[in-house]
């Protein structure tokens, strides 16, 4: 590390005329201040604070780089692995995010990118002491997992969210080799199906014998059977295990055994929550509620993948202590849900299917006064005239759950009045995501667009940072967003707006906007142009099936050299200049060279 030219004042007691201390050498005078700074900076944990500190001057930048142990890379293509590891030398924990969120909805071609391999090799070289790796929407192979398993002797934590490309063999390698592993969380990731002929690898048996350090084991998304006896033995020898989320191959009698082995659990994903096929109903039924009574520390329940509703009452003993309940894979009706909800007084997070109906939401509103986060997912994804939840449910929740901070609500119909009511009743809202499944649906009562509802949300919810809009929306909605959405960081738009003006309002009005994802809306080149002043401040912009042309994108690319504009087109010969997808992000490095044929990166 080279020093800057600046000289620091001589500090007393730091001269070499002090009494000789052969073991402890005084640092040279110009390093003292840096060492003091490094010690102070150790206390800074928030990455925004660290970014600010690094901008003060070069020595602060150096000191901050040396002391940053948690590195967050929001877009894996914004910076090359080499640049990241060169600047930050002592990273122990790394988070990398890859594909844009719309990849979750099959809008991004296969093999688009976000390959972990280049990061893997850079990390193995630069950070042999690496302890934690969190990856989201990255593509990683079994070889990558093998590399992770063998390169980091102190490795403690692996969290993979929405990743794909790997299989059981990779997971087994991590289990077998990471002796200090505390956390192995596989969340909504696609684990490659084994070939029909090959036997499914028993990765649970790959954990070493003896007591483990495991604190969290999450494998709900692993789509293959597990060796239950091995799992039971593993749980029995994992005294620190607090979080266990099982896949749907674990039956309820098996769950019973596991819960009795691990009464210290705080977070439980219950697996299938039904009997396995070879158990006849009416056979000696275990008292499943005793298992829930035994686990006195349970605060978070999820799973219920193939639930037999008859078993739901088994969770009653745990309800009073629950702060988080995820029933969003459970097809249970309102009558079955209500007795559960009515006992969950401490609930802060609730995820359900819309089978809860408006009347179930009424029970939530009446009981869950502490609710902070609600997600209501659709059981039926078709565009229908009516659905089980509606504006009635939303309004009732807004009246009962005044502390609500985050909501994701799928429905078939919604009124402006209900949305306005929520904007007034729930001033703490930070995240408001409303998805009216029928595209271009107006307010069914007034036949007006949904502009006023969303306008009220941005106007009244002063803490709002994330917004997703739907229904029939004109440019007026975007005018409201531009006017009032001053803290907005993430905006999702689909099938909305009239003209370029809509997007202009947003790009000109929202100074904190970092993530903008738009699909099927009539915004074109002129609208895109209005954001030139802001694009370097954004993590990304996604526009698909809009009115952008290659020419328009080319102009942006020329104006902003540190912006990567990826034009993605699945069709080769196009009659006109219109493009399918624009994915745009700032990048400090040369454009990537791992893109598939359908991606063109404009310069």
């Amino acid at each position: 590390m080279t020093h800057s030219g600046s000289s620091l004042p001589d500090l007393p007691n730091c001269t070499s005329t002090a009494a000789p201390m052969s073991e402890i050498r005084s640092p040279p005078p110009d390093r003292v201040l840096e060492i003091v700074l490094e010690n102070v900076l150790h206390f800074l944990t928030c990455r925004r604070d660290r970014n600010a500190a690094s901008l003060v001057c070069r020595s602060w930048c150096r000191a901050e780089a040396l002391t940053r142990s948690d590195l967050f890379i929001g877009n894996c293509y914004a910076v090359s692995p080499h640049r990241a590891t060169s600047r930050f030398r002592r990273v122990r924990s790394l988070t990398v995010k890859g594909k844009p969120r719309f990849a979750d909805f099959d809008l991004l071609p296969l093999n688009w990118g976000a390959h972990f391999s280049p990061w893997g090799s850079a990390l193995a070289d630069a950070y042999p002491w690496l302890e934690k790796l969190h990856l989201k929407r990255m593509s990683l192979t079994d070889d990558d997992l093998n590399l992770i398993a063998r390169s980091f002797p102190s490795f403690k934590e692996l969290v993979l969210v929405c990743c794909e490309g790997f299989g059981i063999a990779g997971i087994a390698a991590v289990a077998a080799n990471c002796r200090l592993l505390r956390v192995l969380d596989l969340v909504e990731s696609v684990v490659e199906d084994a070939d029909e002929d090959e036997e499914v690898m028993d990765w649970i048996s790959c954990f070493p014998d003896g007591e483990t350090h495991l604190e969290s084991l999450v494998f709900e998304c692993v789509e293959c059977p597990v060796n239950f006896e091995a799992l039971e033995r593993l749980v029995a020898r994992s005294p620190y295990l607090k979080k266990l989320r099982l896949n749907h191959y674990v039956s309820i009698p098996q769950l019973y055994r596991l819960m009795h082995r691990a009464p210290q659990l705080t977070h439980l994903g219950t697996g299938s929550f039904c009997a396995s096929d070879d158990v006849a109903v009416g056979d000696q039924e275990l008292d499943y509620s005793s298992a829930f009574a035994a686990c006195k520390s349970l605060v978070c329940l999820s799973g219920f993948r193939d639930i037999l509703p008859d078993y739901l009452p088994a969770i009653y003993p745990a309800c009073a202590n629950l702060t988080s309940l995820n029933l969003s894979y459970a097809d249970v009706n309102a009558d079955q849900l209500k007795p559960v909800i009515l006992q969950c007084h401490k609930l802060q997070t609730l995820w359900v299917l819309d089978s809860i109906c408006d009347e179930g939401l009424q029970a939530v509103a009446a009981t869950c006064k502490d609710l902070r986060e609600l997600r209501v997912f659709p059981g039926n994804t078709r565009e229908e005239a009516e659905g089980p939840v509606s504006e009635v449910g939303l309004e009732v929740i807004s009246q009962g759950c005044r502390k609500l901070q985050s909501i994701l609500f799928f429905c078939q119909r919604m009124t402006n009045a209900a949305v306005i009511a929520m904007s007034k009743n729930c001033p703490d809202l930070v995240v408001f995501r409303l998805c009216i499944i029928g595209r271009y649906r107006p307010d069914p009562e007034t036949h007006e667009p949904m502009d006023d509802g969303f306008g009220a949300i941005v106007m009244n919810c002063k803490k709002l940072t994330r917004l997703a809009v739907s229904g029939l929306l004109t440019d007026q909605a975007f005018r409201y967003i531009g006017m009032y959405g001053k803290l907005l960081r993430t905006l999702s738009v689909a099938f909305a707006g009239d003209s370029d003006q809509g997007l202009k309002y947003v790009l000109e009005g929202c100074p904190n906007l970092q993530k903008l994802e738009i699909r099927d809306s009539p915004f074109g080149d002129a609208a895109l142009h209005s954001g030139l002043h802001h694009f370097y401040n954004m993590r990304f912009l996604w526009m698909s099936t809009c009115k952008l042309t290659r020419q328009g994108c080319q102009e942006i690319a020329r104006a902003l050299p540190h912006l990567a504009l990826e034009v993605i087109d699945s069709q080769e010969d196009k009659a006109d200049d219109h493009i399918e997808i624009l994915y745009m992000y700032r990048s400090l490095d040369r454009p990537r060279n791992d893109a598939p044929k359908c991606v063109t990166i404009l310069q």
């Binding site: 719309f102 909504e188 994804t381 699945s570």
Partner: protein, 209 residues
């Protein structure tokens, strides 16, 4: 519900497609109107707000939706909700595939049979509901629209003549078969996934053993 009533009527009308006849599949194509178009024609009378491109939505992500979108946005006087859509919009509603796949089990109980469709060389995988097609002619037409190609005519001996593409499927036993080899009902229950093969591989499959 309106959905199931009209679906039932459509099924009755399209039963003809599943009849065993001596003629080649596809010869009665002119008589059968694919379900998607039937819905569109009944829909257009009751709602002028329904996006016109709906029936083609699943075929091409590259829409010039500009003019259509602004036209639709102006129709605020319509109070009848658009009729239920059977065609699937890619990526809508925005639910992760992982969650959608879990739901499929429920919708399979409700009557949908979803299979993945891939085409050699195409960057996207699609999913289609086999239940919405009355028979091979509609399925093939939908595939042609989806991937913008011609599949040609089926013959038992020579497979799909007249094109570089052959639609194939993997059945419950893991075998790859040519679409059309078995009666439609048997196909619907045994098909695990579809793959549109291209080139010589496709032609090779066409030759009966």
């Amino acid at each position: 519900m309106a959905t199931s009533a009209s679906a039932y009527e459509n099924d009755i009308k399209n039963l003809k497609a599943t009849e065993l006849t001596l003629g080649l599949p596809g010869t009665h194509l002119q008589q059968n109107v694919p379900i998607i178009d039937q819905e569109k024609s009944s829909a257009s009378s009751s709602s002028n707000k329904r996006p016109l491109q709906l029936s083609h939505e699943e075929t091409s992500p590259a829409q010039d939706c500009g003019s259509k979108c602004s036209n639709i946005a102006k129709n605020t006087d319509d109070d009848a909700a658009p009729p239920p859509s059977k065609a699937k919009i890619v990526g809508w509603p925005p639910i992760r595939s992982y969650r959608k796949n879990s739901l499929q089990e429920q919708s399979e109980a409700a009557g949908g049979i979803y299979v993945k469709v891939s085409m050699d060389g195409a960057p996207y995988l699609r999913k289609i509901d086999l239940k919405i097609y009355g028979g091979y002619p509609q399925l093939l037409k939908a595939l042609e629209n989806m991937f913008k190609l011609t599949i040609g005519e089926y013959s038992e001996k020579e497979g799909y003549k007249g094109s570089d593409y052959a639609p194939t499927y993997e059945d419950k036993d893991g075998d790859w078969m040519l679409v059309g080899d078995v009666p439609w009902d048997m196909f619907v229950t045994s098909c695990k996934r579809l793959r549109i093969m291209k080139g010589s591989e496709a032609r090779g499959l066409g030759c009966a053993v």
